[in-house]
Every structure is written in C-alpha cells, then in structure tokens.
C-alpha cells in the first residue's frame, strides 16, 4: 500500500435529495486543493456523484469514503442494505429499479453504475440481497 495522504468519510442519508451531491462537491473541492489534474477531478466527480446518488436513492443509508494516496484516489461506498440481487443486471446500461417518482426527478436511466465503471481504472462491487453493497473505485494519478 502506498502512502496515505488523507481520508474523508461522508455519511449519506437515504432519501435526502436536498443534501444529495454535497459530499461529491466536497470531494471535488479537496482534489482541487491537492492540485489533482482537471480530467481526473472530472472522473472522480462523476464516480462520487453517481455513487452518492445511489446511496440516496437505492440504499438504506451509508458512507461515501475518499482516500487519497501518493499514486491514486480511491472512492468507495458502504451501505447497510438492501443489497443487489443480481449484480450483472445492475451493471447493465439501462437497467434500473427506480420508481416513477424518482424517474420524474431525472434519475433512473440505469447509467450510474456503468458511468462509475467507465471512469474508474479499477472497479469492484460486492453485494447480496439482504445485506449491504460495497463499491471500491480507484483512479491512478
């Protein structure tokens, strides 16, 4: 493991659409302060926003975690459920279980996880129905 520069943990509440995006904005600010290049910041912002919104929309609450190391940025989420029954389906573009209410707000295109995967150099997801979901993404600097 390379040298850790910082770790920030953001609590994300289920259903809190007003605060949604605040943790991602904070992550963007931190990376800017660390003079990370703007293309990598853009990728990190896409990853953190989609992960944060999935916590708000689909989870029962969880954490968004930023870790910055000398050679990489790691953005991860951990939530307390309800988990994903079929991960390969969830990763498919266009697959979404979002309700009509959520869709009317502009969510539910089924693009969030594919966006996360596309913008990460490494992407890991662990989940099972009835337990929580964990996502770990890495961007190399």
């Amino acid at each position: 493991m390379s040298e850790q520069i910082l770790t920030e943990v953001f609590e994300v509440e289920a259903g809190d659409f007003v605060a949604a995006g605040a943790a991602s904005a904070q992550i963007k600010r931190i990376l800017k302060q660390l003079s990370v290049n703007s293309d990598l910041i853009r990728r990190a912002a896409i990853i953190s926003y989609e992960a944060e919104l999935n916590l708000v929309i689909h989870s029962l609450g969880g954490k968004l975690i930023l870790r910055v190391m000398k050679d990489r940025v790691v953005i991860s989420t951990e939530d307390v459920g309800p988990g994903i029954a079929d991960i390969s389906l969830a990763l498919k573009e266009g697959w979404s279980t979002a309700s009509d209410d959520i869709r009317s707000m502009g969510f539910g295109a089924g693009m969030g996880l594919p966006n996360i995967k596309r913008n990460a150099d490494d992407f890991e997801i662990r989940s099972a129905a009835g337990s929580g979901t964990t996502i770990v993404t890495t961007i190399y600097l």
Binding site: A20, S24, I46, M105, G106, M111
Partner: protein, 111 residues
C-alpha cells in the same frame, strides 16, 4: 456566445449568479436524464433541461457548466435558486422551447 448573450437571445431571465453571466459557452446539450448529463457534461457547457429540481444544480456545479437553461416557461422553486446562487450556477428561465433554445445556441456559433 456568452451566457448573457444567450439569455438575451432567447428572451430569458437570468435567475441566479449574474456575476458569472459573462462566461463564454463552449458546448451545449439538452437532456433530462441526470446520469446521462453526468456522463457527457463538460466545463463551460450550456445545459437545456426541463428538470427544475435541486439535483440539476449539483450536476451543473460538479461539471462547472456555464449555465443551465430552463425552457418552456418552467420555474425552479426558491430552494433551487438559493442553492444555485450559493454555488454560482447561472440559471436562465425562458418561455422559449428547448428546441428553439438549441437553435439559438447553434446560430450563436456553439458547436
């Protein structure tokens, strides 16, 4: 084309962050699916959307967009304009259609 010029050309009203209305628009997009816009958004973009909820501000701010244009006579609520003002995101509202706003952007030289 600047944000201010766009607002004028579409008969629009700048609702928030007039201090940023001098920005030059680099590109444009119209779409109401947030994760679609998250995937394709860029700095200096003008984004035309009928979504008026607070998440629009988050997406525009994360991409450092030039402005968000809300067409078709839609109006964002106060908490949304407050958030946009706080984040320095320019919101423009207009009675013009999304299509017509896009035509104006094109005529204004935005590729």
């Amino acid at each position: 084309m600047t944000v201010e010029e766009l607002a004028l050309a579409v008969g629009g009203e700048i609702l928030t962050a007039p201090e940023n209305a001098g920005r030059t628009i680099g590109s444009a997009m119209t779409c109401d699916l947030l994760s679609w816009v998250m995937a394709r958004g860029k700095a200096d973009m003008a984004w035309v959307t009928v979504q008026t909820n607070i998440n629009v501000v988050a997406v525009a701010a994360l991409h450092d967009m030039a402005c968000v244009v809300i067409p078709e006579g839609m109006r964002p609520d106060a908490p949304v304009t407050e958030k946009a003002a706080e984040e320095g995101v320019v919101l423009i509202r207009t009675d013009a259609s999304a299509y017509s706003v896009c035509c104006t952007l094109h005529t204004g030289g935005v590729a």
